[in-house]
């Protein structure tokens, strides 16, 4: 559809296609469970957008259209791997087991993070895009020094691919043969800036210049993303070094709830991508091959509705934090100015004191 080097195992119509390097290893049961993940994550996204419109979230960054890229990559990870996300990695967070309500603490503006990164082996989101790529490479250098068979995986988009930190990360990963997978979701738009402004060559081809493999995969193809990510992760764990994966996809929605894409892109483009919907093509495959029934799909939809209700209840239950907590976790070993701030807040009656 876009590039002859695009790895695809499932067409937009839900037909399997062969690829010389990759073969799907997923059972129908696993495909069905990943279909469920994608439906739930899309529902999470819709509910979060509604919550933002109702004034319950400060912001939301939608991922509609990128579900296959994120669930495919997320489910290819092993429990001991460690992931370094941006703020748009809800499908990865879901795959790592981060409770959905925790994902929304950042957007509810009650936390700058939302979860314990060691519990889920999923770091807290980077908002200064590109920073996380270097952090992931450093983590991977730690894996090497520990002699562990683990990998780090980091996520960024076509926009951040222009950041110096991302390119420095490529240099370092290559120089030190670090066990890291760079997973770039090229969703074609960095807010209003089109891909063509970020790069004059397909992003995956940049890897060759840095000295490691780059692969472009159909980011709306769950089967292909899973296999490409799994292979790259296994290669990294085995000491084979870094891989750049460019998941070629599309941001169906706005950049965030503060954005208005009608100002910079035409509806016809969105229409084209609607026919490449990542969830519909898996559904078509399941109907044809696994004989999944309408009742089974309906059950997933019903589960997603219940999930959304629970998510809403959890978000609404998140109250305003005690202001004194702003002084928590700034330093490990304390700082007199932190104590001074706490004291002033108590003296002014803004807070009752530390918990």
């Amino acid at each position: 559809m876009v590039d002859e080097e695009l790895v695809q195992l499932l067409t937009p119509e839900g037909q399997r296609v062969e690829h010389p390097d990759y073969t799907s290893t997923l059972s129908n049961e696993k495909i069905f469970s990943m279909y469920r993940d994608m439906v739930i994550i899309r529902r999470l996204c819709n509910e979060s957008t509604s919550l933002q419109r109702q004034g319950q979230l400060a912001l939301w960054a939608p991922i509609q259209g990128q579900e296959a890229a994120q669930i495919g990559a997320g489910r290819a990870l092993q429990p001991m791997d460690f992931t370094f996300p941006t703020y748009r990695e809800h499908g990865i967070a879901w795959s790592r087991g981060v409770p959905p309500a925790n994902m929304l603490r950042l957007f509810r503006a009650v936390s700058n993070g939302g979860w314990d990164p060691y519990t889920y082996r999923h770091s807290v989101p980077a908002i200064v895009l590109g920073n996380q790529v270097l952090n992931a490479v450093g983590y991977a250098m730690g894996i090497q020094r520990d002699g562990a068979e683990e990998a780090a995986m980091t996520f960024f988009g076509d926009g951040a691919s222009s950041q110096g930190d991302v390119l420095e990360g490529f240099v370092w990963a290559a120089s030190f043969n670090a066990p890291v997978v760079f997973f770039c979701q090229n969703n074609q738009w960095g807010i209003s800036t089109p891909m063509s402004t970020q790069s004059k060559v397909p992003l995956y081809r940049r890897a060759r210049g840095f000295g490691f493999p780059g692969i472009r995969v159909d980011g709306n193809d769950l089967l292909a993303v899973y296999e490409v990510a799994r292979t790259a992760l296994e290669n990294a764990r085995a000491g084979g070094g870094p891989t750049l994966i460019e998941a070629y996809t599309y941001r169906m929605g706005a950049h965030t709830t503060s954005d208005d894409p009608t100002r910079y892109r035409v509806e016809a483009e969105v229409e084209v991508w609607k026919h490449r919907d990542p969830i519909e093509r898996v559904k078509a495959l399941l109907v044809r091959e696994a004989k999944t029934t309408q009742a089974e799909f309906d059950a997933i939809d019903a589960e997603a509705e219940e999930f959304a209700l629970q998510l809403r209840a959890d978000v609404l239950a998140m109250g305003r934090p005690d202001p004194i907590t702003m002084f928590d976790n700034v330093y490990a070993e304390g700082h007199p100015l932190i104590e001074e701030g706490r004291r002033e807040m108590v003296e002014l009656g803004i807070s009752g004191g530390a918990h």
Partner: protein, 327 residues
């Protein structure tokens, strides 16, 4: 008590060696830190003894030196990052401010940012541009970071070890003009906590505080002032964030006068902040307004004229006169 005489450069080298011997998770990373031993030879011989996995020669990218040290910290390593010169730290500024300073908060206490960023700072070596700057206030202004400066070989030896052991990220400022000055190093006991100020010369008339390179100039000024009948109490701040305010308050309560000496431009600086803070705390003890003797509000000048930019004994004595005139 085992004391040996060594240069500050050697003291830092020995301190790093001792920290690496004590904890196998301690790494060093920077440009040319391996075979070359760093452009100032601070890491001389360490790669030979600890191997290239622990003393890592970095590609030329400061943001990556700090950015990967962050990831290593998440993995439980303690990396001492060497910035080759003060003026080359700015490519890493984003990682330092956006990640190093904030990740503990963002992870709600899960992450420990145990890393040290060594910064050869201040001027006085006749270098070309970007090799003589004093950016310490940029870091001291940032919550989540700690900042200190050493001024003696003994402090250098101990403070580098204390900084590495700290669970908070430390910006470790080294006065490069004084790397080759010798001093006594006590190998048995640390002189003080990492951020404790030290009284270098007791006095009664004016508290004069400084850090790094300026300590030597201040002590010389104190000699001269003593000959003129003015007694300066000289305080080495050591900690720049946190500042040992209690030590300053003790001293100024006694002297009633305060001068801070630094190479950095005065506006929005460590000295300006200290004068405001100590004035607030010691207002009724003060007999004159505090003064800051520092650099001008300009890019660091071409070094043929740097001695007219850096605080000199004369400029400090001029400040002494101006402060004493209020009596």
């Amino acid at each position: 008590m085992a004391t040996v005489t060594m240069t500050m450069a050697k003291a830092l080298n020995e301190g790093l060696r001792r920290a690496m011997e004590k904890n196998s998770k301690v790494l060093i990373m920077g440009e040319d830190v391996g075979k070359l031993g760093g452009v100032f030879r601070i890491t001389d011989g360490l790669q030979k003894d600890f191997g290239p996995d622990r003393v890592v020669d970095a590609p030329l990218a400061e943001s990556a030196i700090v950015g990967t040290a962050v990831g290593l910290a998440i993995r439980g390593y303690r990396t001492v990052c060497e910035m080759q010169f003060d003026g080359f730290v700015y490519p890493a500024f984003d990682q330092i401010v956006s990640q190093v300073a904030k990740l503990r908060k963002r992870s709600e206490g899960a992450y420990t940012m145990g890393l040290v960023i060594r910064l050869p700072f201040q001027g006085g070596i006749g270098a070309i541009e970007h090799h003589s700057e004093s950016p310490e206030a940029l870091f001291a202004h940032t919550g989540g970071l700690k900042v200190m400066a050493c001024s003696t070989p003994n402090d250098a030896y101990w403070m580098i070890q204390q900084a590495i052991e700290s669970d908070d990220p430390v910006i470790f400022c080294e006065p490069k003009s004084r790397y080759w000055e010798k001093g006594e190093v006590d190998l048995d006991a640390a002189p003080a906590g990492l951020f404790d100020a030290a009284v270098r010369r007791p006095g009664t008339d004016i508290t004069v505080a400084g850090y790094g390179s300026t300590m030597k100039t201040i002590l010389r000024a104190a000699e001269t002032a003593a000959g003129e009948g003015v007694s300066l109490e000289v305080i080495d701040l050591r900690g720049l964030s946190p500042v040992d305010t209690a030590a300053l308050v003790d001293s100024v309560t006694k002297t009633g006068r305060l001068i801070v000496v630094q190479e950095a431009p005065v506006h929005a600086s460590i000295g300006a902040s200290i004068v405001a803070d100590v004035t607030h705390r010691c207002f009724y003890s003060m007999r004159a307004p505090g003064l800051v003797v520092g650099g001008y509000h300009i890019p660091y000048p071409p070094t043929r004229i740097e001695e007219d930019y850096r605080p000199t004994v004369d400029r400090i004595l001029d400040a002494v006169d101006r402060v004493m005139e209020f009596d």
